[in-house]
Subunit: 145 residues, 2 copies
């Protein structure tokens, strides 16, 4: 348990659509899948962390969630799509591991693209709404566990 903090996080790890880098965290994109489950920043970040760490457990630690929860999110995702997004293996020298399948990578890339374009698309209205809010303060960044 030492390869947790992978170095090269290519793109932003958070699922916010703020229109700006900082700020009170406005706007989340969530895709509702037919199965009833949904794909939001939480699952997307988890997928990314799995791809980087090669382990569900390490990804769960990074996201500060229990292994159980991380695993059940992965189970949901795998069930929602025709092909699994995460391939896992038990045993072995490292004890086991997990990795993104090609489908998993496609889904993650697609989500990031949607996140980016949606962010750009709603930036103007986000700015307008921000001016109408009650708490002007900044207490937040509860990064969707």
């Amino acid at each position: 348990m030492q390869a947790d903090e992978a170095p090269g996080a290519a793109f932003a790890r958070d699922g916010r659509l703020t229109g700006e880098r900082h700020g009170p965290a406005l706007g989340h994109l969530r895709i509702r899948l037919d199965s009833g489950t949904s794909l939001g920043p939480g699952k997307a970040n988890l997928l990314e962390a799995i791809g980087e760490t090669g382990s569900i457990a390490a990804a769960g630690r990074r996201m500060k969630m229990s292994y159980k929860r991380a695993w059940s999110l992965v189970e949901d995702l795998n069930a929602a799509f025709r092909e699994p997004l995460v391939a896992s293996s038990r045993g072995g020298s490292a004890g086991g591991g997990a990795a993104l399948t090609p489908t998993g990578e496609r889904v993650l890339v697609a989500y990031r693209a949607m996140q980016a374009s949606a962010e750009a698309a709603i930036a103007a209205e986000v700015a307008e709404l921000r001016g109408l809010l009650a708490e002007p303060g900044f207490g937040d960044m509860s990064d969707e566990k």
Copy 2:
């Protein structure tokens, strides 16, 4: 209690971002407010219904939720913004009523605009993801109560 189904619903009453008119209901836009509460299709539709019916109770009936729930959603919204989005009055010949404030209308219009532009922005990826889903079927339209 008969003015429920108002006639002139200017724009789409649902909060989906499908990219197409029909289909399995992909994509929801949700704005996370600082207060912890969020503004999604449910509250947006409720706001619209209040504006059309002039009553929290009637809007609640249309959305198939209890008055208590509708009222508490309104309370959340009013608390989240500096000025209330819904102004209500008790008593009177009609028993009372509620209406959108100018701020309320601004917020609703802004949400609809975000919804529309986000829908357009993510259409391509939505189509791609749809091809990867497990259930190709169409059982859904649980319009976010």
